[in-house]
């Protein structure tokens, strides 16, 4: 039970935190100006020079192995609905860590996505 709680916390908080760090790195790196494979690879290469990418990758790696471990003894239909909370954690992190402005329509949308994901996975 305690192990499950720790693994869920690692997946939701550390995993979403890692994605937010990647978002910070992409904010620093710049936009994808030309929609070509070369431009995409070049942008991703520049992003690799940001410290935030590596912090993010480390955090997402921890979350990834936590997910693998949790899936080895829990069903996907139990794990994924709980991890839907990461949409809310992500929005809060987007405001405080990335300086995003989350309008009320986006909050409503995020709430509906959380509900929808929970129903989809619970009915598998």
């Amino acid at each position: 039970m305690i192990l499950e709680a720790i693994l869920f916390a690692l997946i939701i908080v550390v995993g979403t935190g890692g994605e937010l760090c990647v978002g910070r790195a992409m904010q620093e790196t710049g936009q994808l100006e030309r929609f070509r494979p070369g431009a995409a690879v070049s942008l991703l290469g520049r992003a690799l020079r940001s410290k935030w990418i590596w912090i993010g990758v480390a955090m997402m790696t921890i979350a990834f192995f936590s997910l693998l471990l949790l899936l080895s003894f829990e069903s996907v239909s139990f794990v994924v609905p709980v991890t839907a909370l990461s949409y809310l954690v992500g929005a809060v992190g987007g405001i405080f860590f990335l300086g995003e402005k989350v309008a009320w329509q986006r909050w409503v949308g995020i709430g509906l996505v959380c509900l929808g994901v929970t129903i989809v996975v619970a009915t598998k």
Binding site: E19, L20, V22, G23, A25, M26, Q27, E28, T29, G30, Q31, L32, E33, R34, F35, R36, A40, L43, L44, A47, L68, L69, L71, S72, F73, V76, S86, Y87, G90, A91, G93, G94, I95, L98, G99, E100, K101, V102, A103, Q105, R106, V108, G109, I110, G111, L112, V113, C114, L115, G116, V117, T118, I119, V120, V121, A122, T123, K124
Partner: protein, 152 residues
């Protein structure tokens, strides 16, 4: 044809916001296919491996081979690399709080693929969940994809 389409996206004659939105939506479309497929392949592999025991440590090399010694996990990892690349590129164009929930449309893609390719049955409640996700994404779509400025 793909190159022509890419040129169209890069043309200055297209409105800046239209091009930004189109690129973001194309990258989200790549994410909603590769992400769920990758996760399903990983789950399938871990079910095959069974319950993992981390003790005694002498068993770890054998465990590593059991987990990473199949095509399924590498196909899953390849899908997730494509997913994370599209995710990073989408984050260069749009907010995290816009891209992350929009990627949940992947659940709908999986259900549609299941029905039309694997001939699986999907319950009405499951479809209701997908409709709610689509409704949520339509709310998110009504907000501006980017509310912050790039540093450079």
């Amino acid at each position: 044809m793909t190159t022509e389409f890419a040129k169209t996206l890069d043309q200055p004659s297209q409105g800046m916001h239209t091009r930004l939105h189109l690129k973001t939506y194309i990258l989200i479309a790549i994410m909603i296919v590769t992400g769920p497929v990758g996760n399903l392949l990983l789950a399938k592999n871990m079910k095959r491996v069974g319950t993992i025991s981390m003790w005694p440590p002498s068993q770890l090399p054998e465990l590593f081979i059991r987990v990473f010694g199949s095509f399924t996990i590498w196909a899953g990892i390849a899908c997730l690399i494509a997913f994370i690349s599209a995710y990073m590129l989408a984050l260069s164009l749009a907010d995290y709080s816009f891209v992350q929930p929009a990627a949940a449309l992947g659940y709908g893609v999986i259900a549609v693929l299941g029905v039309f390719i694997l001939h699986e049955s999907v319950s009405p409640l499951h479809w209701l969940g997908i409709v709610i996700i689509c409704l949520g994404v339509s709310f998110i779509r009504n907000t501006h994809p980017r509310t912050t400025e790039n540093s450079r």
